[in-house]
Each structure stands twice: as structure tokens, then as C-alpha cells.
């Protein structure tokens, strides 16, 4: 489904000043139309001021505000990026076992001049679409579908691009009965030895095993306002404080923003978003992401398969290693001494 028109704006709680300012702009536009009067100069000033307001609102966002941006209902999703970044997309369906999970979109496409297999999680934009996609929480058949397409890519030596956007894998009874944990675990195992380059991007929410299920990659990128976490802040708060209302505190403690994860070297690159987030200008966000994908693919595409796999393995082994008592910015030591912990 296409992006919503910009005139039906949705504001986040920290955007109250922006909402008020936009209301003023709309009123003047309406007045101008109704009375056929020229307010172009006033509108120009107000629009310039709008940029300052957005800049101010987004200049110092905390982790919780960033998470709100990552969940913005107008934020570009996988199918939007398929339209904006890729060409000649040919969708491939089914897992050859149970059903076609619409939470996972997969298919052959072109990224610039590159032929790639693109796999992404799609949440949907309206109630009906979210019902069909289970709001982007894949079932095991979704993960099996993704792996099937990745094996197809391997057979044809096509690089794989994964777009991650999920709160997590679906934890329902049916999903567990059909082997949700096993499906994700098999993806982790098989993706770690996939003999083609894999670039993954967290475009919105990167929730837990659901994100990891298509996230084992040679390069892991993150959109500036995306988050990537072992648990949602609400889930964490419910466990630690017995109340989801402490989600903001949990978000800060979890270190799940792109900046935090880049510092810990969990991700390789932060993809800059337009001012005010990707939803403000999806085309610009898509252009930046496309450039980042092409650059990263170019870096790994020519590597011999053995080296590609060795580097992927080394990259994964570096995760979760830190020096106790060391400065936060100090690089983590892989396979370190007795002080290093995993």
C-alpha cells in the first residue's frame, strides 16, 4: 500500500510544538483558499520556522522518543522501500510446508545494476493489511519462506538484502506448535554459512529473535531512528518494574538505539534519515538507504566465499564481548582474557 498523503499528519508526543505550528499553517492555507488572498510570504516564513521546530524537536531525542519514531505509523515499511529502492521486483511466496506468511516479503529484484534477493518484514498500514501481515510478526512459515528464498539466492549466487522491521516473532500457540524457535534457530545456523553476501538493515523495529531470524549478515546497518533489541522496552519494563509504564526507563537501560549499538560494534553503519525521520521524506530516506546498501554490497561482493564466511563468523563472535571496567568507548577485545566476558 502506498504511503499516506502528507496532509493527514500523525504527531508523536514530543512533537506537540510541531503539531501546533502545522495547525497554524493549515489555518492560513485555508484562509488563503477561502478568501482568495495571498499569504505566500507569511506561509514561507512559517515553513522556514517549521524546519527549525523539527530540528529542535529531533536534535536531542532520548531512546524512548527514538523508539516512538521507529514505530511511527507513516514510517516507510518494506513494501515502500521495495517501490522506492528496488526495480523489477518479482515476489516469491510460500514455504513449501505450511502456508505463505505475508509478514515476510521475499523476491528477486534489482538494486541499481545488482540482481539481489530481497527479504523483508512488513507490518502493514491499515487494519486489514496488519491483519494479513500479523502486524509484521512472522510465524515459523515466514522464517522458513525466508530461508528457502535465501537458499535459492545461494544457488544463483545472488546477494541477499534483508529489511528488518518487526516487534518480534509471533509467540502464539499455533506458531509454537509449528516450531517457531526451531525455525528461527535454523535460520541463524543456515544464514551464518550462506555462501553469498548478506546485508541486513533494521529499518524500523528490530525486536528480539524475530529480527535475528533474518538478521545474520556480513553487514548490519540501522536506520538512524530504528531500534534493535533483545526485548521491547514495554516487555522489559513489565518484567523489571511489573509495569509497562516504565518503558522509557527500560529503553534507556537497554541501549537499543543506533548510536548505542554502533558504539558497541553490534551494527556496522548508521543510515542517516531525513530531518524529522524517514516518514517526513520517504524518498530521501530510500535514496540514502539505497546508496548505503550499494556501498556495503560492493565492499563484500568481490570477497572469496571462504573469506566472506570467515569474516561473517568473526563478526558474530565479536558480539557481546566487553572489557569489564574499561571505558565505554574502548574497543571490545575479541576472545579476550579472563576479564572479558560473553
Amino acid at each position: 500500500m502506498a504511503l499516506q498523503p502528507a496532509n493527514s499528519a500523525v504527531y508523536l508526543p514530543f512533537e506537540s510544538e510541531l503539531a501546533e505550528h502545522d495547525r497554524k499553517i493549515r489555518e492560513i492555507e485555508e484562509l488563503s483558499r477561502a478568501n482568495k488572498m495571498d499569504f505566500s510570504e507569511e506561509l514561507r516564513v512559517l515553513r522556514e520556522r517549521r524546519v527549525d521546530i523539527v530540528r529542535k524537536a529531533y536534535s536531542n531525542l532520548g531512546p524512548w522518543e527514538r523508539i516512538q519514531v521507529s514505530r511511527h505509523e507513516r514510517r516507510p515499511q518494506t513494501r515502500d522501500y521495495l517501490d522506492l529502492i528496488f526495480t523489477d521486483f518479482m515476489e516469491l511466496s510460500g514455504d513449501r510446508m505450511f502456508a505463505d506468511d505475508l509478514a515476510i516479503v521475499a523476491g528477486l529484484a534489482r538494486l541499481g545494476d545488482e540482481r539481489v534477493m530481497v527479504i523483508g518484514q512488513h507490518k502493514g498500514r491499515n487494519v486489514r493489511e496488519r491483519h494479513l501481515t500479523n502486524a509484521g510478526s512472522p510465524h515459523p512459515e515466514g522464517y522458513r519462506k525466508a530461508m528457502l528464498k535465501m537458499r535459492l539466492a545461494e544457488r544463483f549466487a545472488l546477494p541477499v538484502v534483508c529489511l528488518i522491521d518487526t516487534k518480534g516473532a509471533f509467540p502464539g500457540t499455533g506458531a509454537e506448535e509449528r516450531g517457531q524457535a526451531a525455525a528461527i534457530a535454523e535460520n541463524l545456523r543456515d544464514m551464518s554459512v550462506l555462501r553469498v553476501p548478506v546485508v541486513a538493515v533494521v529499518i524500523g523495529e528490530g525486536g528480539s529473535g524475530g529480527a535475528l531470524g533474518i538478521g545474520v549478515a556480513d553487514r548490519l546497518l540501522m536506520m538512524e531512528y530504528a531500534y534493535y533489541s533483545v526485548i521491547s522496552p514495554e516487555g522489559c519494563a513489565a518484567i523489571l518494574w511489573k509495569s509497562a509504564s516504565n518503558a522509557a526507563e527500560a529503553a534507556a537501560a537497554l541501549k537499543i538505539t543506533a548510536g548505542d549499538l554502533a558504539e558497541m560494534k553490534i551494527i556496522d553503519e548508521i543510515v542517516k534519515e531525513p530531518l524529522g525521520g524517514a516518514h517526513q521524506d520517504p524518498k530521501a530516506a530510500a535514496d540514502t538507504l539505497k546508496a548505503a546498501l550499494l556501498r556495503n554490497l560492493a565492499e563484500i561482493k568481490g570477497l572469496p566465499v571462504d573469506r566472506l564466511l570467515a569474516e561473517r563468523y568473526a563478526r558474530l563472535r565479536r558480539h557481546g564481548v566487553w572489557m569489564e571496567g574499561a571505558a565505554a568507548s574502548a574497543p571490545a577485545a575479541a576472545g579476550g582474557s579472563g576479564e572479558a566476558r560473553k
Binding site: 487494519v127 491483519h131 516487534k167 514495554e234
Partner: protein
Amino acid sequence: MNSASALRRPALALLLALFCSAGCGPDELAPLPGWGADYEKAAAQAAAERKPMAVLFSAAWSPAAAKFESQALADQRVAGLLAGHVRVRLDLDQESARKTALALGARDRNDNVGAPWLVLVSPEGERRSVAGQCGADHLAGFLGTLGRWQPLAGWESDPAAAEARARETGKPLAVLYSAAWEQEAAAFERQTLSDAKVVAGLGAFTLLRLNIAAHAKRAEADKVKAAPALVLPAPGGSLVVPEKCTPAALLSCVSALGGKPRDLPGWSADREAARKQAGAEGKPLALLLDSADWPCAKFAGAIQDSPDATKALEPFVRVRVDFAGISEKDRADWQANKAPCLVLFDAAGKRYGTYGLKNAAEAPERIAERVADGLKMAAAKTGS
């Protein structure tokens, strides 16, 4: 035209019609008899007539919603139970319906709404919902649990009248936040508040009972998150008694309110002398930090009234000190940030334990048990 082609044409048309209809359900909801489609109008009617409201979120493409409507809602018992409600059905394909669903809390923890979703709203503003397709038996059973908000004997329901009466009689206000659709609230009123001793204890207060949904702002100001909760006035603030409170625990709170420091035989008031005595006799020291408020009276009473705790305190030199009189450094060292507090020291003057009131509604027996256990362990550690 020959007969073969004449037959083929309608057959092709039928195939085309079947092909076009396959996989695409109707785009708009057909009207449901007895259910309106205008939420604002329904809400206004419910408010004007003081009637409960039933809001059904549905969608033309949802087989579950169609089944729910044709089976569960069509059931005679369900229809009877919903007869007194203002009924409105909203199409989730409309953005306004989705926003209404979010506002009415018809959403999962990830803010997803789905069809069918039935939300019941009481005239006081309480809400309950049934998500997903369910059978007529389940729905009828659920609707049967939703009673009406009724007055409770002895409790005022008008805040202004209750406050006026409190001023007039000099009896402080006790506010009960309750709900018609909360089973715990009904149980608390039936079991705890109807206990004869509690009724007598609460006689010292002006009693006001409010529906938490209708008085959400006041409840928030009183730091009450859920019903039932009883807010009692207390020095320096208020005491919120949660629903888990037993009659005995509530009674101890009520009777301790406004109480004076209780006499504690066997406890001296000279801290320095007690410290010296403990050192000279090689005994551990129990230091009770308290003040004149009700939590201290409750804590001290709980310890004094418990044979177990009294016995466990026997090996200790006991001293009782006003919390206000101790230094900031001592408070920090003893990890005693508020009264009441029992701080235990060994004969050498080293602190090895601090016990306080876990929460205001903790039962006296539980306080005594906790302190007695701690004292026994402490005594075992020091060999006394």
C-alpha cells in the same frame, strides 16, 4: 447462433463472476439490525440516557467478525443482555473507527486492533472488551458478570456532600475507589469492608465511595491506579489500602491512624546508656527508630503484641529513639531512611540488620513474624 454458443455465454459469464469474486470479500459492511453506525451519536445518547454502550468493531473482510455477528450476537440470551445498551458497530476500514478503537483500549499490547472486538462501556465509564470471535455461551456468560453500579450502604457517593459532612462532623474523609465491573472490588466490599470490626473502625471517618472510572483524575491525584483501593488520611499524606488487605490488616491501619506512640515496656529511651550497657554485658542492641505517626504505632504494636517477637528480643538491650533526633550520617550508615525502623547491632556496635514496614497495609502478624525471624537469625549469628 447455434445452441452450443448460446450455452457457452452464460457459463463464461458465471465463471467470470466467480473469478472476480474469488478472494475479494465485500468492501463495506452491510448494516446490522439494531446497531447504529455513528459513534458520536451513540455516545451522546448513552450519556443522555445513562445507558451502557456496546461498541462493536467489525470489518467486511473478516470471516471471524461475520461469524461473531451471525452466531454470538444473534443468540437470544446475548440479545437480551445487550438490549439495554446503546449499540453501535464501526467499520475498521474507516480511519476514524481505528482511532476510536485505540481510544477505547480495543487494542493489543502492540496497539494492533482487529475484528471482531466488542467493547462495553458503562455509564460511569468503566470498560470491558471481548476480543476475537467467541461463542454465544462465552459471550452471554461474560455479559452476565457485568452488573450495574449500585450504592453501598453507609457510604456517601457525592464528593461535595461527603467533604461538607467531614467538615461538619470533624471526621476525616476515607475514600473508597471501587468499580461495578471489577470482581476484586466486589469481593473487597463484601469481605473486608463488611467485617463488623472494620465497620466499627471506619466509624471514625466520613466515608465516600467513588467509581474509579468516573473519578479517574481524583484517583490519579490520590495515587490510586486500580480499584478497589481505600484511601485513608494519614499524617504527612494518605494511606492507600490495596484490595489484598485482610480485615485484620485494614483494622490495624484504621486503629493506628492518629494514634500516639505506644508505651513499650522494657525499652529504654537513652541511646548512649543502652550502647554502653550492650558493650559492657556483651549483648546485642536493638534500636527502634519511631515517631508519633500511625505507621510507627502499628509497627511497635505489632512487635509488642507478638509473643514470638517479644521472646526473640529478650537477648537484646532495647532502646527506642525518635527518628527525627538521629543524624543524617546515622540514617545513611544504618540504612534507615524512614521510621519505623528496627536497627540491630552486635555487642561491638556493628550494624547487621535493619527492619522496617514493608508496606502500609502489611498485616501486623506478618510484621511480627518477619522481625522475629530476623532477630532469631541475628541472635544465632552473634551467639547470644
